[in-house]
Symmetry: C2
Subunit: 201 residues, 2 copies
DNA sequence: GTCTATAATGCGATAGAC
DNA sequence: GTCTATCGCATTATAGAC
């Protein structure tokens, strides 16, 4: 009985441990990036040895993948509810930006890894490539739909609109990280989007 | 006399070496960032040993500073000619973007180091902080002047315009590095700027 | 000036004790 | 599960030969 209990407790504890490690890794990668962030630092924060981390995740790359998967899960979880292209998708995009703002680590992680991942051999390269592809196509489709509906501002090209939408977020997030100016990131993104469409956001 | 000549020759050759090293370092830092890029790689490209590099630049940090200084020199060199705030400055900004596009390494270097430099202890942190401050203030002043002249599009707030101008460049450059879509970076930036002002760019 | 050699440190990953 | 110990490798920087 102590055996069963111990085993059950163990399983639960293992899952908790994995989650703790993921949270710590999230922080470390957000602060130092993937290459520069070390397993040792992650281990220290979670109160384990470096080898202890590698029991739960077989390699450093595996740990990064797990962190990215977890990050994705949350955003897609929201986006799954609002999928129809058009103004709804734009509002959903704005909502995701707002959500990320409330967890600043998300912004750090994204900004650092996206830049680091430009190198083709980087473990997160394909992840970000796919991400830009997906969001870009999704956004472009929304702007096309809006053009047909007549809610796209005249003269706006859907492709440009999609690129600029992603660019403004990435760029503002970077400025936000330098803490140069205090500004409302969501409001700035909304203002930009509003300059592309005629319907109120 | 022969001494002077020899010294002169020596100096010239040393200066060339320094320049070669700077060019190689520029490439390496652009490809791998500062932390991940190694002196060894720089040395290999320039045909020297790793210790040889440190004869010309006393430390890795010193090498980065020299690379950033060289980069700055070129941009400021251009900006020095066109300084009056207003539409002229905006056109100058666009011209710098165009120049950078012709040397893609510049875009890589900037994108990677700007993200890496968000960490406060990074050797390039203050450089980028100052850079955002300077360009942001400069741009904002230009938009203020244009508002007084009546050439700023109604409803556009100078602070937002300045932030969005920098953001769109940073963001588009990142997309450009992922080679996701082939698009005209300068044209996209111009389109965005055009949405902020009434006078043709 | 440039080299080799080396010091000092840090990394990821594995082996094996407990 | 978690640890210690260790391997093998890479890094920056210095010392000293040439």
């Amino acid at each position: 009985m102590s055996d069963t209990t111990a085993t059950r407790g163990s399983y639960a504890k293992t899952a908790d441990r994995r989650r703790d490690i993921l949270d710590a890794a999230f922080e470390v990668f957000a602060e130092s990036g993937y290459t520069n962030g070390s397993l040792r630092t992650v281990a220290d924060r979670v109160g384990l040895s470096q080898a202890g981390i590698l029991f739960h995740f077989k390699s450093k790359t595996g740990l990064l993948q797990a962190v990215l998967d977890l990050r994705d899960e949350r955003s897609r979880e929201y986006f799954a509810t609002v999928t129809s292209p058009g103004i709804e998708a734009l509002r959903g995009f704005l909502e995701v930006v707002r959500m990320n703002c409330e967890e600043p680590g998300m912004i750090e992680l994204y900004a650092i890894l996206a830049a680091e991942g430009t190198a083709e051999e980087h473990p997160a390269h394909e992840y970000f490539r796919g991400r830009y592809d997906w969001i870009g196509a999704q956004a472009r489709q929304s702007f096309i739909v809006m053009r047909e509906e007549g809610t796209l501002r005249p003269g706006v090209e859907p492709g440009h609109a999609a690129r600029s939408m992603m660019a403004i977020v990435d760029g503002l997030q970077l400025q936000w990280l330098y803490g140069r100016t205090k500004f409302d990131l969501v409001a700035d993104v909304r203002t930009h989007l509003q300059s592309l469409v005629t319907v109120a956001l």
